[in-house]
Symmetry: D2
Subunit: 447 residues, 4 copies
Amino acid sequence: MTSSPPLYKNVRSQQSAGVGTQCTAEFTVRASDLEMPPVGKDGKSAAKRGLLERLSSGEVIIGDGGFVFALEKRGYVKAGPWTPEATIEHPEAVRQLHREFLRAGSTVMQTFTFYASEDKLENRGNYVEQKFSGQKVNEAACDIAREVADEGDALVAGGVSQTPSYLSCKSETEVKAIFRKQLDVFIKKNVDFMLAEYFEHVEEAEWAVHVLKESGKPVGATLCIGPEGDLSGVSAGDCAVRLVKAGADIVGVNCHFDPATCLKTMKLMKEGLEAAKLKAHLMVQPLALHTPDCNKQGFIDLPEFPFALEPRIATRWDTHKYARDAYNLGIRYIGGCCGFEPYHIRAIAEELAAERGFLPKASEKHDAWGGGLAMHTKPWVRARAQQAYWEKLIPATGRPYSASFSKPDSWGVTKGDKDLMQQREVTTENQLKEMFEKQKNVTGLVA
Amino acid sequence: MTSSPPLYKNVRSQQSAGVGTQCTAEFTVRASDLEMPPVGKDGKSAAKRGLLERLSSGEVIIGDGGFVFALEKRGYVKAGPWTPEATIEHPEAVRQLHREFLRAGSTVMQTFTFYASEDKLENRGNYVEQKFSGQKVNEAACDIAREVADEGDALVAGGVSQTPSYLSCKSETEVKAIFRKQLDVFIKKNVDFMLAEYFEHVEEAEWAVHVLKESGKPVGATLCIGPEGDLSGVSAGDCAVRLVKAGADIVGVNCHFDPATCLKTMKLMKEGLEAAKLKAHLMVQPLALHTPDCNKQGFIDLPEFPFALEPRIATRWDTHKYARDAYNLGIRYIGGCCGFEPYHIRAIAEELAAERGFLPKASEKHDAWGGGLAMHTKPWVRARAQQAYWEKLIPATGRPYSASFSKPDSWGVTKGDKDLMQQREVTTENQLKEMFEKQKNVTGLVA
Amino acid sequence: MTSSPPLYKNVRSQQSAGVGTQCTAEFTVRASDLEMPPVGKDGKSAAKRGLLERLSSGEVIIGDGGFVFALEKRGYVKAGPWTPEATIEHPEAVRQLHREFLRAGSTVMQTFTFYASEDKLENRGNYVEQKFSGQKVNEAACDIAREVADEGDALVAGGVSQTPSYLSCKSETEVKAIFRKQLDVFIKKNVDFMLAEYFEHVEEAEWAVHVLKESGKPVGATLCIGPEGDLSGVSAGDCAVRLVKAGADIVGVNCHFDPATCLKTMKLMKEGLEAAKLKAHLMVQPLALHTPDCNKQGFIDLPEFPFALEPRIATRWDTHKYARDAYNLGIRYIGGCCGFEPYHIRAIAEELAAERGFLPKASEKHDAWGGGLAMHTKPWVRARAQQAYWEKLIPATGRPYSASFSKPDSWGVTKGDKDLMQQREVTTENQLKEMFEKQKNVTGLVA
Amino acid sequence: MTSSPPLYKNVRSQQSAGVGTQCTAEFTVRASDLEMPPVGKDGKSAAKRGLLERLSSGEVIIGDGGFVFALEKRGYVKAGPWTPEATIEHPEAVRQLHREFLRAGSTVMQTFTFYASEDKLENRGNYVEQKFSGQKVNEAACDIAREVADEGDALVAGGVSQTPSYLSCKSETEVKAIFRKQLDVFIKKNVDFMLAEYFEHVEEAEWAVHVLKESGKPVGATLCIGPEGDLSGVSAGDCAVRLVKAGADIVGVNCHFDPATCLKTMKLMKEGLEAAKLKAHLMVQPLALHTPDCNKQGFIDLPEFPFALEPRIATRWDTHKYARDAYNLGIRYIGGCCGFEPYHIRAIAEELAAERGFLPKASEKHDAWGGGLAMHTKPWVRARAQQAYWEKLIPATGRPYSASFSKPDSWGVTKGDKDLMQQREVTTENQLKEMFEKQKNVTGLVA
């Protein structure tokens, strides 16, 4: 804690407060007035309250950020397969990222088990299953997540995600068997709750929920869909209803779209649940990227995915607005996906500090709304130490040769198409040439 | 190393090759053909070759990236003071970042001693000197840098930077005494060479070089200036000449401007040295940000500094081009400053892999030019696994409300101005209000 | 006619052809093969075919462009009141613009009677009624339109538009009386058909149609609404149905939105009519401006209206695409509104030359798709003499300080609000100050 | 004149006033207080003061705008050859445009004789010489210009421009003979002064000045060059010196670059003349287009030239700033070239109304700084009736798929290159194909 922290004013101007803001009264808290979360002290309290208990009491749960993107940039994950064998190869790097999110205010440590299904670990020449075994990758992920969670008051979520097998039209039995292998590890390692996330087809997510429910633990389920619904044409509202009926305690969306788009989808999901007279907790974990130009398939269709997305990265102030809008919509599990770095998570925690009653540990190094700039040597930078400055600023891009929007690739290839059939072996040069040729014809790009 | 790496073709199209490219022949190396750098094996070889020896033999030295920006986003450095007490508070976080740069291909570990002069550690309410002592901050930085450097074939550089005392018009003797305190630590810890970096005024950099030369070690010196010269009006060419005459073995620029602008400045420095018939090695460590709209003062004058610079972040492909252009200009110490994350450093190492004879360790998780996308489940993403695709792509920004350029603050406040006089105490609310008012009048922004 | 015209290839690539293109076969016509329209020869043919006869036979009717914007830039219309007293003050300027549209391919000369209702001519200090009388303004407009129409095969349309009286909550009887005054002139001057255009509220447009139907002439009716419907909340489909039921022979939209948005609205209108099993001809006259960032109120809410819209101006190639898309949607009365200059109308006529069987007179000075550049002195400009070049080009803006989108003013002021009550007298300085103050509070702009 | 004009405040904020503004005092003039220029009254005063007399007395001369671009859009000039046979084919259209410029405040009517040299009129299949004869085209231009000039207090300038013969390496004697043919007409028609404009090579401009000086009339000379100098490598300063030494009374630049770039060039010319201790009047007639991304060759190298330049068009407020900056630089002959429409010329006249002592006739339809909006029906548009609003507004482009900058074609083809050799005959299909092929290779565009 700095010895003399600047004021922490949680007052947002009317236009930025978004959907039905309830936050009109001005209040001012100094960081020092706040009970800090018990990070690094005695986090291993025997009596950690469970997820549903917290949500039911109105507590705000803050998720963590995007592991695959952050660790790709740090050098530990390969873009393309995106698999999490770093849990074995470089546990120190995975642990460090967990710690940063904990420090930033996350109350959930998701096991780094994204795409850690055995069929994905052994796909198109990515021989992770063979090299390490999926079981070990999943176990290591659980151990690291638990270690860090217990450095604070965080919960561990065991996560599964969509499978190449489903895309390749495998049966419900086959796909469920794959999820069950990961679940076995989660049960053995006694994670706190389960998460089925990143599903393009609600059907596969239902299967995942069915399997995860076998654990008896709370289950959250998020699709990577936008307002147009899932890739089989099920509307967002119906998706929410089906997930709840399948047994999910918490439903929502993650990845694939920017915060504003995800909140549009969440609104539709909420309305769908209300119309069906169903109750469930809501959660959202969007990209920390601006993607207003996406089509139904989300950001992977953008030509910039995944290696030229930098100009789209959200600022911390964008993230403040997202947190407030999500809160105002009634969502109480608010986190992030690809692009969310620790400082984005901290921005959520700072925006909702008053509601939560404390600031995250990492705010020791971040006075609210740019307050730290009061210590800058240059007077015109000190002049930026104010909320009004950052809240109003629309940043320039420094990129005069860049347009605002891209035209998404729109190949119209969906489940069942032969190009979506996965293979254990390396994609061959001939297969690649075929794709390059198709790109010329379909997308109109010229190599 | 992946079992079957895609081809690594180091061929650039003519237009992107930039200044006087010598790289016209096509050659293809598989990662497996390359001697990997001895990272993580037995790096502690008694016989590490020194910096000047390496440079004189034509070897490419790759610097590291930006610590203050990266650690600010990870939650360990406060924007505003930007001081490096994390070396004591969170050595594991500093160590991890060093490791990522080493893994990405850096051959230099700079001690995280930026702004670790005693007058900066105790400025405007930042009581680091009082809390920890500058000596301990500097010592911890040296220990961490050495530890990681010895995990590979890297050298340790002890760094000093500009001081509040100079801005506050303190005497040469006073300023030199400050540098000497840091130097004492560097000598005690036996760093491999010295670096004076981030100076806006060549005069202060000369003083730093004088002091660092007392060590008998090689000395590099970089200013944070653009093509218009230093803030006292000395031309870039003359700055280079003065630094060499002061004793610097390596000269160049770092920070404050984007790669293209920095290379323009480097060209002027090179021409200045040639005109003066002086010889020196050249080094450059620019921002990983696009800043074509900067004025003479660099990116701190941009309204987005430091909390809304995201849209300006360079892609890895931008960094490939930078590395090639720098190499073609004859620069052999090529690194990065603020904004440079490990994957940017890896891009330098990949672009210059043929010249260096090896790929960095982190390329295990990055097939050249997007090759890893051949493993993606979606066919249209596999179609992006080609150099031609990424080299030609001009990324969209996703930000339709953003312009390309900002108007820099241009307060015209320079050394000697009362607003640049530093103080030990917290900036008061009245002082801040005065700055806010000045912002309205000078900058035209309205809070 | 040039002695050797370049090929006129009317083949569009698939992606730009838009909605349900029927134009897949390649055909090539030389301008010299086409029957030219009888412009300037003996246009006064006793037997001009009527509008409905033409439309029923499948003929494409091309409207004219935007008089108030074009004449404002030429110095004859005042932005603000936008009234057409130039018909009396500078008939030569009005006549010249009519001739340019005729030459560009327009088959309709709209009388320049926009806002020539007596209550608008005498509003907020615009004493045109008093100075000239509305009757004379309307008569002069008819005479000029007829004179030029008879120089070719064009028809004269007598037009009325929305009234300040309606906004000020005057009764149906009062508003109809105003329209009837203009109608009296149109009947006396024997125009060929009637047009009710630029209505924000379908109710007022219905009243106008009722009145115009008294003439026994064909009546067209266009609203200035977008896909969200009229300002009273009536959907686009319902608006179309109501207009047809009121007696309109042709229905559609004009002004306020760009071509793409107007075609979205047209699609909804068409579907509304189909659902109601009603038949009517369709017409569209959009802006020649890009306005993707509009809200429901259209371009007058954009901060740039009306004096800084230049960067939004459509190119001729944008207009080609619009013409094809409109045609493919089944619209056969295709014209333009504000921003449409003669060369935009020519672009419609060139795009639809094959369907119409002739090129417009003005194509003597415009070889298709940039063909005239084959005569340029510079070789790299000659290289642009091809359809593929212009069809693919996405023009840069030259404006690095401009964003793509604006935030529309959204005052939420609608019919009935006191600020919409009109007055005969000049807006007072106090009234203006009140508006300036409101701008600060509502819009957030600071003067 | 409106019965109650809003205030005309000629006060600009400091930052927009530009180079060394002398205009700090606030003054307010009502349009009605100003002596109007004697337009339309008895302009044919026997005693029109000559150009040099006016300039020497400090009077501001306002040029006219761009004829070829404006008449191309109106349908009377063909882009590509750009020749002015409209003087014979459609004199009413040329006359109307002259009148609009006169009404907007122009004190010079340039004869529409751009590219009316016999070798250009008969180039690449443009058989104007053969069809009409260059003599008649030039004579008609003089007659129309004189007719309109005498409707006000304007002067007639007879203009010549660069020739295909020079590009094709014809001799000084041959080129001068071509200019002399146009001069013969100007002398016969007794124009008031001579103008040599649009020269890329100062040498050819010198030849033109030599010829025009034979008339004994004042001679102005403007090059279409930027700050880098002419296409033979002569610096801007040296160009100015050479033109004055050749006999020009007024020197400057026109066309090819935007106002800001042209003023940079003018500054260099002014400094060149001062260094050479030469005196001359200065004139400038830039594009009304934003072209910050041009290379040395100017806007014809931009990929958008000439058919997709719309997003670059200057607003009237951009033009106000240009007029003020030009005035502050000491230029007293201020006009426009391509893109300048009558309302841009009016903006110059309104910005300099106080200096000139009167408003132009067209200001009857344009209250200063948006004042006419006080008469708008919508309150939020009335709120825009203020200088502060328009002066600060940075317009959005409405074009999210457009970047700010283009990469200019840079073929590096200059005088002497075979591709610049001109021919009487139509460019053949084979010649075009060769250019298309070259475009692919040099420019990198793919058709």
